[in-house]
């Protein structure tokens, strides 16, 4: 249940907050680093400022490889709607400075916000959880992503499991169908399991508990060595075509009817429902709040342009692509512009393109774009998919009549979002 509210700050923290607001406001007016600078300054002045800002609030932390931003936005909505009584980092700034900045903003805008819903980069969950004493920790999924930068996914998932074990008071809501995610969730005494057939099993071959071999049969998985197996879902997403229903304990069933497309979003919504109900929100009210959501930070946004429309999609790793391919299969085969960069925030290595079954795009007219269009083009050629090359992905969408999808990885997506604003 949601209770209490933020506690009054001690003098040192109040001074830190005042200075941070000045600097953060100036940075925002200048259009630079507005989503992190306030938190960075406040932390320099008071190392414990994140803990002080979080004190007394009901904190929900959301982590995992894919879907953090969307699920965080959904949970914030379910718990009352962003801008009303929920503090959230909906700009996607998910490291400690960004989370501190989001709590500073909540202090300015609505001092009483009793709830904070924050997405957290997997690598910073330990720091953020230690500071914020979360009521709920949501574990979405763990798969390979930026191996050159983040490191090996098993290590990431194991560290998350250690954070779970270190916070026994937090209610853990985790994905049962993802082997690494379940391994981390099982470090909690009584986790809440969300379940739905998973589309990506690429990092699910080795047991997170004993390093034995994991075998899969349908949606079930089990370790052939120690017997660790897929937990039964408390909240199960059942899909029929593009409609989703979430079945909960005691035979409850809640229809989703989302505006956001695709299996991944229906699963994200199942998490949001589970968290909302865990914190006392009525299921029908929660589902109604999710229905209004049309886009999240530009994801799934459709932009009208001369001659047609462009829908913006983000896919930055193989598991994310599995979800986007699933979404592109819904409806007629539209032209697709794929933009791939390999800048710092994307990871420098583009080997992951070979873990994406681009063969599934055979029916779509296809354009390869972005800084690494050449490597993407080689991948598509070996997949037997005809395509053309373009320097500028947004310009390529303008060359196309009708509805077109633009799928970018991290910086390619954000460049396109800015260009289409």
């Amino acid at each position: 249940m949601i209770s209490g509210g933020p506690t009054r700050l001690p003098p040192r923290a109040r001074a830190a907050v005042a200075v941070a607001r000045l600097v953060g406001g100036a940075a925002r007016r200048a259009g630079r680093h507005g989503s992190v600078i306030g938190g960075r300054v406040a932390t320099m002045l008071d190392r414990r400022v994140l803990a002080r800002l979080a004190a007394g609030r009901t904190v929900v932390l959301v982590t995992g490889t894919n879907g953090k931003t969307t699920t965080t936005s959904m949970i914030a909505r379910v718990l009352g709607g962003a801008g009303r009584r929920v503090a959230t980092n909906h700009l996607g700034a998910n490291m400690p400075d960004g989370i501190t900045t989001a709590l500073l903003d909540a202090l300015s805008n609505h001092e009483g916000a009793p709830v904070a819903v924050m997405e957290v980069d997997e690598s910073y969950l330990d720091v953020v959880a230690a500071a914020t004493d979360p009521a709920v920790v949501v574990l979405l999924n763990f798969s390979r992503d930026q191996l050159d930068r983040v490191g090996e996914v098993r290590t990431v998932a194991r560290r998350v499991g250690e954070v779970v074990a270190a916070h026994p008071r937090a209610r853990v809501v985790a994905f049962a169908d993802d082997v690494l995610c379940a391994g981390a969730g099982l470090r909690a005494a009584d986790p809440v399991w969300v379940s739905s057939p998973s589309l990506w099993t690429g990092d699910a071959g080795v047991c997170p508990r004993c390093d034995g071999a994991v075998t899969h049969a349908g949606v079930r998985w089990a370790c052939s060595s120690c017997g660790l197996a897929r937990p039964d879902g408390d909240w199960t997403l059942v899909e029929q075509d593009t409609a989703g229903t979430v079945h909960g304990p005691g035979g409850s069933a809640t229809a989703l009817d989302l505006q956001l497309p695709g299996h991944a979003n229906r699963l994200n919504a199942a998490f949001a429902l589970a968290v909302g109900i865990e914190l006392g929100v009525d299921p029908a009210v929660a589902a109604a709040r999710l229905r209004d959501l049309e886009q999240v930070g530009g994801r799934y946004r459709t932009v009208t342009r001369p001659g047609g429309t462009t829908r913006l999609l983000l896919a930055k790793n193989p598991a994310g692509w599995a979800q986007v391919l699933d979404l592109l299969d819904e409806g007629p085969p539209r032209p697709v512009v794929v933009a791939v960069n390999s800048r710092e925030a994307d990871g420098r290595d583009v080997s992951w393109l070979w873990d994406v079954p681009f063969e599934r795009l055979a029916r779509h007219p296809l354009v390869a774009a972005g800084d690494r269009a050449g490597d993407l083009s080689v991948r598509l050629a070996y997949a037997g998919i005809g395509h053309r090359l373009a320097d500028d992905p947004v310009a390529a969408t303008r060359d196309t009549l009708g509805a077109v999808d633009l799928v970018g990885n991290y910086t390619a997506f954000h460049d396109a979002t800015r260009a289409l604003t």
Binding site: D148, G205, V206, D349, S351, W354, A368, R379, A381, G386
Partner: protein, 260 residues
């Protein structure tokens, strides 16, 4: 097994990180583009390894996965038989270490490899070697430089029965950085039999068509010219065909398509 040339992809569930399974797709496609029927035979965790494959491919993997792979393959009669007859084999990263005599994991345990390649790997202790590299080949049959993305921490020492595959060009990241980690910028290893082993990802055969063709020529003999399918942009076609020899092939292919 059918008459198709068979590319055997070993245990992609555990040796499939970094997109290395793509190496098998590249080999099969480059045969098909030459009019030679080819298929990828994926050996899953519970499948037997065929002894009569034409090319064998092992990829990279994380530590625990690599130990599992070594345990699974160490007593495989099919794989040992193929390696003993010198079947062309590409082993990348963890695959390289598994084919070696032994490797030591982070907790100090020394794990026996398959002993098909005379190399032994121990933990590097320092930071992982991560980044794009270019290397000049040290084996016959390769002219131009090799390129790829390395991301590993171990140090691999070559024994007398193994030779280095290439030498890295870029010493900028310090004398101990890059390649096998032995301080001499050596990259990868080859056996007197059919094994070509490397730390390069990318996948390495997607970025180095000449290396793919070297493995294929060892498997099927002299390779006919390569005809790319329609719908491949010209600059990409250049990359798929590789260096000088390939530009000739491109013209040949174009003439063939035109019915010449």
């Amino acid at each position: 097994m059918s008459d198709d040339v068979t590319i055997v992809l070993l245990l992609p569930e555990v040796l499939g990180t970094y997109g290395d399974a793509g190496n098998a797709s590249v080999l099969a496609a480059r045969l098909r583009w030459r009019g030679i029927p080819a298929r990828v035979h994926t050996v899953g965790w519970t499948d037997a390894v065929p002894a009569d494959g034409d090319v064998y491919v092992l990829g990279g993997g994380e530590d625990a996965a690599q130990v599992l792979a070594a345990d699974r393959l160490r007593d495989s009669i099919g794989l040992h038989s193929a390696l003993a007859r010198g079947a062309p084999t590409l082993a990348v990263c963890a695959g390289l270490q598994v084919l070696g005599t032994a490797f030591t994991i982070a907790d100090g345990t020394r794990i026996a490899g398959l002993g098909a390649l005379d190399v032994e790997t121990r933990p590097g202790g320092g930071p992982r070697r991560i980044g794009d590299v270019v290397a000049d080949p040290l084996v016959d049959g390769l002219d131009g430089p090799l390129e790829g993305f390395e991301n590993h921490g171990g140090i691999t020492e070559l024994g007398p029965d193994a030779a280095p595959l290439a030498r890295l060009r870029d010493p900028a990241r310090g004398p101990a950085a890059g390649g096998n980690g032995t301080g001499d910028r050596l990259e990868g290893a080859v056996s007197a039999g059919g094994i070509i082993a490397t730390y390069l990802h990318g996948p390495v055969l997607a970025r180095n068509p000449a290396l793919a063709d070297l493995l294929l020529a060892r498997a099927v003999g002299e390779l006919p010219p390569l005809t790319l399918p329609d719908g491949v942009p010209p600059t990409t076609a250049q990359r798929l065909l590789g260096g000088r020899r390939s530009r000739h092939e491109l013209r040949t292919g174009a003439r063939r398509r035109a019915g010449a």
